[in-house]
Amino acid sequence: MTEIVSLDWLALTVFVPLLGAVLSFLVPRIAPQIGLMTLALAGLCVTMLALQVIPGGPVIVALGGWGAPLGLDLRADGLAIIMLGMNVLVGGFVSLGALDTFSARHAGEESARMRRYFWPLWLLLLCGLNGAYLSTDIFNLYVMIEVIALAAIGLTVLTGRLDAMRAGLEYMFASMLGALLFLMAVGLAYLQAGRLDFAGLAVHAGEPAMMLAFALMLVGLALKTALFPLHFWLPNAHASASAPASALLSGLVLKASLYILLRFWVEIFGPGERIGMLVGAMGTGAIIWGSVQALRTQRLKLLVAWSTVAQIGLICVAFALAGTIGAQTAWQGAVLLMVAHAVAKAAMFLAAGRIAQETGHDRIADLDRSHLRPTLAQFAFALAAISLIGLPPSAGFAGKWLLMEGAMRAGAWIWVVVAMAGTLFSVAYLSRPLIGFLRFDRAPDPVGEHHGWAIADAPPLMLAVIAVISGLVAVQIIGVISIGAPFGAVP
């Protein structure tokens, strides 16, 4: 099943974005072209890799010919392929959106700086994200999450405004602390096991020092994923960044730490049910608190950011089902939810950015007073909301369905209730802007003055359409996820 090759699409998936980042930094004049080209090449790499993995099983590459335990192995199984596909799909559309947001027709020094630095930061971020999904040892993961964090912080503060800077610093502290807890855990794990690769560590699972290491990693990764109550940095950071940056931060960056946690949980530590319950309870807290804040906030982008807190909580409910008979179904549901959230949330942030750009504000209360209606952006927002709420045939629906099925199989009805409550909450807070979009009687001037559809409306709309129809291929996605049996054999 497993083949060992020296250098191929797998390594290129990580190194092409890195090369692109360096080039776009050195030649800022053609950075957008380099960026799009890199995304296209990364897409090609992931496609070729998928064509290797789907018929042939997991692919392992020992970098430089040095295998584990001393060297670094990169490994692609079905789950990694899905996450990589999510990166290039969402990243590709966000890049198209960024072409307009950071285009040369916006004059001014700030715009020039954003144009110059967006592409190197984003491509570096892509390098880190792809690397994280392919890593098989914990120190490589530590480096990758630091690469991701530094690039993500750069994207957060790209606008250069004071609020974004403050939010970025808060993010920086949370992120550094999370990474240091992770590093401490790496030290403890090495002390105990003398190995850093997943397989070598899994042998020692359950020993006290390893449990301590896992606890540190859990807190560090929860901090980076913004799992309640460690979410405090997220809303301001995601809401104050520029629209493409928010889309990347909310759609892709959080998924990396969530994925690492999932891998650790399944492949190394297998912590008991009690810790699963704890994470599930944190997820429940996230759903409630995130939703309540989303219901209270006055700003559209903050609403979308708080919704991210709630949605991450929903995904984490799957951890509560680990070790039960419904675990495999619940994991599959969680992965589908991660992908669905990435696509839908990127669409939603891009659409919210377009709405703010067209109407000149993002106050939810004034949406229905505006005589300007950026129709396509509002339509994209509504479609993305369908996937986030989990209406059929969206991928969000399929993911939530699997999650609840897993809970039902395990007989854990409480988590079915939690998932249902999350759905109802999301209907409640997402209908706030939707009502604003659809009410016309409070507009002082006649509605209908149309500013024209911009090309910038295309990326959010395309992403939102994909979010809605991707539920139709959920079975195929799950088929790919199961390659290499990341969640154990089918019972």
């Binding site: 800077m165 920086m172 240091l180 401490m184 030290g187 003398g194 006290p208």
Partner: protein, 103 residues
């Protein structure tokens, strides 16, 4: 390998010191308000974590150290330097924005 049974005394002392330093840094990072102090506290955490890695390299008196954790510490130092630089640049930028001048 067990933490308390086979580890020589030096290792235990270093390990406990590492955990203590990490703890002090953690306490500082969570309790301090001033940005610069928080960066310094986080640096302390980094030192504590490096201590643990160095302990992991220790194989006993007269024996060569395990080079892998040393490589990890060096990588960790590089990462911390870059992260600290970004944090300091951010703090400085916020400071100048708050005081309305561009330096």
């Amino acid at each position: 390998m067990n933490l308390d049974a086979t580890m020589p005394d030096t290792g235990v002392i270093f390990g406990l010191a590492g955990i203590l330093v990490f703890g002090i840094g953690l306490f500082g990072a969570l309790s301090l308000r001033d940005s610069l102090r928080r960066v310094l506290a986080l640096k302390l955490c980094g030192v504590g974590a490096s201590f643990i890695l160095i302990v992991a390299a220790w194989r006993g008196p007269g024996l060569a150290a395990d080079p892998v954790p040393h490589a990890l510490v060096i990588t960790g130092i590089v990462v911390m330097v870059s992260a600290t630089a970004v944090a300091l640049a951010l703090i400085r930028r916020i400071h100048s924005l708050e005081n309305g001048r561009d330096d």
